[in-house]
Symmetry: C2
Subunit: 334 residues, 2 copies
DNA sequence: TTGTATGCGTTATCAT
DNA sequence: ATGATAACGCATACAA
């Protein structure tokens, strides 16, 4: 059924070695024979078998992109935007992208020798054992904040500084009671966000001693409606909210609105990452910008270098964030 | 470096055949030897090589998921939501998902015998030659409206009826001048939407003879700001707008707002597909719902059956749509 | 129950 | 410049 190098060889009246040579562009084949071979390949509609080639060359030509499991993953524009960058980066290479969204897929994929390298979105602490990952012996690059002890190169936004900037921006606009809506602490991203929040509060002497952070169980807002409502209504003096992601911010805005609060009149909201849709919203979401596709491209570049045998230093590539003022934040009188 | 079936055999003092048998769970191996082999596999940390297995079994274990090229693809929640369903469906199987977002990747992927089947998001007419696709000889399922002459099974929303329902809903709320913001006609999706639009207009005797459809060059709104502005401002009597996708609707709302129109007071807007974020917006977007993850799952199921050698009838699996009334539509007095 | 041998499609080594 | 052949890791028909 499927036409192989052997069929081409027979049809062209040459050995498979010669066919292989023209396929891989290796020297050592006469112009005339090459032409003949090419013609036959065309006629027979020959297609190389990547699996067979991989077998002898000891590589698959595939890169695994591992996104966290959970209901909202791909739907979260953070991931899709970074993945966009990964895809663009991968385009310059010979590699294909094998994606996996669930833990079942992930184990299957990684344990089957079906990829040459891994791009790993920073998993929750409960998802992967670092030891298991290391044991795989595959070149790996992590995207997003990750445990300090990780031996893998890491490309990430400067989450802590981003949240710090968001708080600072609200402060400069007259806000004095500023809350943080954060993800679960099992995610390093949340840990970093909290770090930045505390840092800003301390510098601005805003630390009231009260706990104004809400830690959600999930990054999924829909599942956390009640706790957000409670958080908001129990803090009437709070005029500004910083969220650990734009996605969280969108959900928070919705909930606040249904509670009768208008944005930004009653409550200012700042997101994080400045996902593409943020600027399309009404009102447009103030956020802390970072080059998401750039992160994806850089992660790809790094992995490719790793694959080529390079040693990568420094291990941490941190992308700067910068506050973008839009319509969900307002100046308030003191 | 990498441990193979051969190493296991030697270490366990058996033949590779026996090892292969326990791996594939085939009968014909004594309990004692099986135990010994398993232990050695464990000790040596043996991992099967999918490529090698594929070579002999003539299959790769990979499914290609082809999404249209272009700037806004993964970022478009339509795709990510359907893909979510695909991933869930694929979880029940032994297949991995190989994604490709660019034409370069796509050719590479499809021409290399590195996948067993294809899930294809309905491409623009200029993107793929049907003949080329058929020539691949791979089991293929299309998601979304596609050319009639396609020989591939197709899973899709009932776009025409969806838009029809949206127009109908606006009509019932008192609207008499209703526009359509549509994608390019090179996409069958747009063609179907237009079809539903005309159908509704005719039934409701609303066809004014004027052309109230705006055909965008791209599904990307940001690039079409000017034409949308012009469209809106040149039709002051228009009170309702139906959009060919939620994404388009979000962009349209933003542009209308910056023009000083408030939604839904001055302009009612209805999206299509009811993407997850639609209900999270403020105001929440009225839309035409369809089970997007269900479409993904069904496409996967269909492809798996195709892969198993089944013949699939009917070729078209159409998912119903139904209007969801939220906050971007209002009743108007006659 | 267990082992031997062959072949899957390709690259690479070594002759010629 | 060209060809024969081993090897990659695995499944399987056939022998024992």
């Amino acid at each position: 059924m499927t036409v192989s190098i052997k069929d081409v060889a027979r049809e062209a009246g040459v050995s498979i070695a010669s066919v292989s040579r023209v396929i891989s562009g290796k020297p050592g084949v006469g112009a005339a024979t090459e032409a003949r071979i090419r013609k036959v390949m065309e006629d027979l509609n020959y297609r190389p078998n990547l699996g067979a080639r991989g077998l002898v060359k000891q590589q698959t030509g595939n890169i695994a992109v591992i996104v966290p499991r959970g209901s909202f993953t791909l739907n979260n524009p953070f991931f899709s935007t970074v993945i966009d960058g990964i895809a663009k980066g991968m385009d310059q290479t010979e590699y294909n992208i094998v994606m996996s969204f669930t833990s079942i897929q992930q184990k299957k994929l990684l344990e089957n020798q079906s990829v040459d390298g891994i791009i790993l979105f920073s998993p929750r602490s409960e998802e992967f054992q670092l030891e298991w990952l290391e044991n795989l012996g595959l070149p790996t690059v992590v995207i997003g904040s990750y445990v300090e002890s990780s031996p893998f190169p890491c490309v990430r936004p400067d989450d802590a500084d981003g949240i710090d900037q968001a708080v600072q921006a609200l402060y400069e606009r007259g806000h004095r009671h500023i809350g943080l809506i954060n993800g679960p602490m099992s995610s390093m991203h949340s840990v970093k966000c909290l770090e930045g929040y505390h840092q800003a509060l301390q510098r601005l002497a805003l630390d009231s001693g009260s706990n104004d952070m809400l830690e959600l169980d999930e990054f999924d807002v829909a599942a956390s409606q009640e706790s957000i409502e409670a958080f908001l209504s129990s803090r009437p003096s709070m005029t500004g909210i910083v969220c650990a992601s734009d996605y969280l911010a969108i959900g928070t805005m919705r909930i606040a609105t249904t509670m009768g609060l208008s944005i930004p009149e009653d409550l200012s909201v700042v997101g994080a990452d400045d996902v593409p849709i943020a600027s399309q919203l009404t009102p447009a979401l103030s956020s802390v910008r970072v080059d998401l596709p750039g992160i994806g491209r850089e992660a790809t570049r790094t992995l490719i270098r790793l694959l080529a045998g390079e040693r990568i230093e420094p291990k941490n590539l941190v992308f700067p964030m910068s506050y973008v003022d839009r319509e969900t934040t307002r100046n308030i009188e003191q």
